[in-house]
Symmetry: none
Subunit: 212 residues, 4 copies
């Protein structure tokens, strides 16, 4: 997505006043509600405003257009996911590689599971909102956290490179997406978590070994 397109998605005014912050929050929350109840194609700015208990005009005071609204909601969600990953990385430092991966993967699966329906709803709006740009940006952030973590692995000399980490993340989120879209049961999610741990561990190990 080009730079000026991104610019056009920035929130219109920073909520300096408390009331404004509340309004913005209500609008974002309403967006998710409408997304869940009506679906992506039935999401209209009026419906969101109505659900949020404000007028359309007010909505447009805080978001320059519909895309920006969806973008904000999407980014917020991705941010939470990234933060969960970063926290996990922080905590998992100075441990063996396998343990690190386990904690990272479990943190990721958990945070997505907890927000299963939001995730599914957002998968549907991402394409029309430059979702990939956000994914890449936050992907880079998470990758850095992972890199840093891996540097401290107690049993690895030369940790996996950026590329391998990206592949791992993409595989992990792809698998999760598939499970989420299938409306998998909690039991399935638990099984999935184990398998993804195994998958990432073995891939990381293979990458590390191969180099040596």
């Amino acid at each position: 997505m080009p730079a000026d397109t991104l610019a056009a998605l920035e929130p219109r005014k920073t909520p300096v006043q408390a009331r404004a912050a509340v309004t913005v929050e209500a609008i974002c929350e309403a967006t998710i509600q409408v997304l869940l109840s009506h679906g992506a194609e039935r999401l209209t700015t009026s419906r969101v405003a109505e659900r949020a208990g404000v007028s359309v005009g007010t909505l447009y005071q805080y978001f320059p257009n519909k895309q920006a609204l969806l973008f904000a909601v999407f980014e917020d969600h991705m941010n939470k996911v990234a933060v969960a990953g970063e926290v996990a990385c922080e905590r998992a430092c100075h441990q063996p590689l396998a343990d690190m991966i386990q904690q990272l993967v479990e943190a990721y699966v958990n945070v997505k599971m907890d927000r299963a329906d939001i995730s599914v709803a957002l998968y549907k709006v991402a394409p029309g909102v430059g979702g990939h740009a956000v994914v890449e940006r936050l992907g880079r952030r998470l990758r850095k956290a992972i890199e840093a973590m891996l540097q401290t692995a107690t049993d690895v000399e030369l940790p996996p490179d950026k590329f391998a980490i990206d592949v791992m993340m993409a595989a992990m989120s792809g698998a999760m997406r598939s499970a989420l879209e299938s409306k998998a049961s909690p039991a399935t999610f638990r099984k999935m978590r184990e398998h993804l741990v195994l998958l990432c561990q073995s891939y990381m190990k293979a990458v590390t070994t191969q180099r040596a």
Copy 2:
């Protein structure tokens, strides 16, 4: 997806005259062209018809609505991918596990790479078209082919179960999707191919070993 939603996507009439078959093909082809040149949100039925050199009315003789058209094109693409996978599985029977996986993954990566831009375009229409249903259906088909192949592995006693295969496929396609959406270079795709082979091989091996 509910039954009647699927029904609403069924092609409206099967061409009985030769002329009609040509028309349908032209419309599908035009759909891809428009998708590539204008993007998913700029794709309109009139534009497709115009590009196909027919009138809108003709388009609607064969597809009951826009969704159905996109659905047909999407399904066709997924079908080709599934077939490529099945062919690879067929050929890779009676070999060691690692070789099988390598051929399967390479076939998958290649077929997606060859249709990189169509793939990216279709990622954007899939959500609005019940894409997940198609993905699941064809996923099951491919999984069966993989299961059958794995039964013949020369170095494995108890091959990976359905779940593991699904996880592998989801991881693989998730990683590919990420690369495709990033408009990765051919070189990157080649590197990706190697890595995905490694990822899938090590996961499959891990799953197999763990059981024993």
Copy 3:
């Protein structure tokens, strides 16, 4: 309705061949079927043709346009009604006024009752098809029959004039229409028949008396 509009509604070719007559009959019958099953706004020439087991092209060989088709069906129905009325008038000659009216009204109610659903269906197409012109034409025919009948009444010197007869017919058909559109029960129709007999008898008597 102007003369040339009427001309445009004439069937395109007279079915000289037996096969053609069968086809025309099938198309008219299909029109009624579609009217009953899909309603007036869902009636399309293609649907009629399909139901009749012929192609649209064939339909257009016998009817210059959709209006003409509906017109023909409507006229046919009205014709049957008029004939039933005429027959009743014929039979009721040389009787007291009240008996005449009774037989006429009962004949009318019966013929409409027997074709209740067709009647209702046709009420919906009549406006778009110049129905009023047909109604007037056949109304005049029926009125003449009634006039002739009344001339022979055994107990009336100066029979009711054209105007009164028209009022009576309009009242009668208006009441019937109301009952038909309400999907009245057979019992209600029987009661209605009695009441309409009474209504017409007393009106005719009043008109006759008043004059004298």
Copy 4:
């Protein structure tokens, strides 16, 4: 008419600002204008909007679809007719039967005559708009008023029952419809008025007598 069909005809939003009320009124007025100048089949929502001096979008803010618009206009007209009848009934209480009927019928004929062209135009839209439901509803209302009036007749012990009243109303409106659709002259309407008075009077009297 099923419940949800009726629901689909409900006005979309009630104007809260004064400006909006004006707009709605303008749209309804324009609907009648277009109906009169272009006819029922040439009535399009854009034409109505244009005539009303607003955009189509505005029209759709107040009416969910074309049907609902026509329904509203139709209902409004019928309402005026019903009110005229009710007022006449109110005024005609405590009088002999024949006088009551005279006043009622004259009120009905007058109100329809005054709106002759609108009436004719609306006859054409009624079928496509669930007109019969409205007719029945307002018919019941008017019937109640008539019943109440008849109870106070100074010369009748047991007044006509609901059924007879319904028959009378149906006959009366059927006859009026016929005259209106024939574009009858004012003189004819006056004559009609007299005849309908006679018709209803004699029917009511007959019904009353018969019982006793």
